[in-house]
Symmetry: C2
Subunit: 216 residues, 2 copies
């Protein structure tokens, strides 16, 4: 669907544009300009246009981009057709919050299985799903054709769980554990590291009263 290979930096912004497009659609707008998408996403309009130039959908000069067409194409490029089953491993505080997080379902991701190692949790229900035993990871993941996993285990368990997930066909991992995961090259890992983010914030906060940073 894209005309040419889509750069990583562009891929990372497509979800932002999608959000802007959905807002525009809800407001009944038939088209949006690169400027509007830009302010909604916090990027420059030139960057938006460059990004969209990797797609097939083209805008109309003087008017902007068709909200419907762009939404459809970005969804297709991101592979958001149909429902994607998802397993969450590690049902602690964070895992529990993720189970009931509605941002998943709103974009076509369906939480299909929950796994935890704690026997007191196994068998209990949360958000309509039964927590299953981590020992059964292989059968659970394989049976339900899950290829996307959300890792919310403690750091020390993460690599082992990741290895097992990859072993039964998972190729995409969203890692909340504060540790680096070593995976084969056909597997994609994205990490969400709250503690790192805070430390980065801390840097810029202190830099703003003392001039140390390059950028922001």
């Amino acid at each position: 669907m894209p005309k040419r290979p889509v750069p990583d930096a562009t891929v990372a912004r497509l979800p932002l544009y999608l959000r802007g497009l959905i807002t525009a659609a809800e407001a009944g707008r038939p088209t949006v300009s690169s400027d509007e998408l830009a302010t909604a996403s916090g990027v420059t309009s030139a960057n938006v246009r460059k990004d969209l130039s990797f797609l097939e959908t083209t805008g109309t000069r003087g008017i902007g981009y068709s909200v419907g067409s762009l939404t459809d194409e970005i969804s297709a490029v991101l592979g958001l057709a149909g429902e994607r089953p998802l397993v969450i491993v590690g049902i602690g505080n964070l895992g529990r919050a993720l189970v009931t997080y509605d941002g998943f379902s709103r974009r076509g991701f369906v939480v299909t299985a929950l796994l935890d190692v704690d026997p007191r949790k196994v068998g209990t229900t949360i958000g309509g799903l039964v927590i299953e035993d981590l020992a059964d990871l292989e059968t659970v993941v394989a049976d339900r054709d899950v290829t996307i996993a959300v890792l919310a285990t403690p750091a020390h368990a993460a690599q082992d769980v990741a290895d097992r997930l990859v072993g039964v066909g998972v190729t995409a991992v969203l890692n909340f554990a504060p540790t680096h995961l070593d995976v084969p090259s056909h597997v994609t890992v994205r990490k969400v590291d709250v503690s790192s983010e805070l430390q980065i914030l801390s840097f810029y906060e202190q830099a703003s009263k003392g001039r140390l940073a390059t950028g922001a």
Copy 2:
């Protein structure tokens, strides 16, 4: 403390190195090589060395870097001395999980105030802290000298809350709400967007069976 301005990309990796250093310290290692830090963080060793070259601490050829000195300097550069008070706004599923998240305290951040708009939540206690009324944001934040805020409100409330936070002196915001925040240039925002991350994963997963991506 840094020799020259530290690039953004480097700043974003310093927390990873810090993690590797703490692990090394726990293992009793007096020094680490750039190679070890690299595999622990998922970057290349050349990149580690280039990053560390912006700091004052220098390694020893044939040996590596002193775990103690590097830890100290990275902590200092990131502004991690002393305890940093932090307010969490929006105590839903995610906010609740964040309150009890121990990754904050482990790096010197202290959750000092919780705010929510729901009268049924206000006055209740969670993790030893009383949830206070969002209406009192200004006094709560100002009285406690909070300059770092974690935003876990619904998207539609986020910009308004951010404006108010900035108005009373907050200069660093960690935004979990799926929306772009418009803030003055002296304020730093980092966002954590679970839904976007999943969509990015989805792209690479589908790309791996069809060749569309540039990178990974």
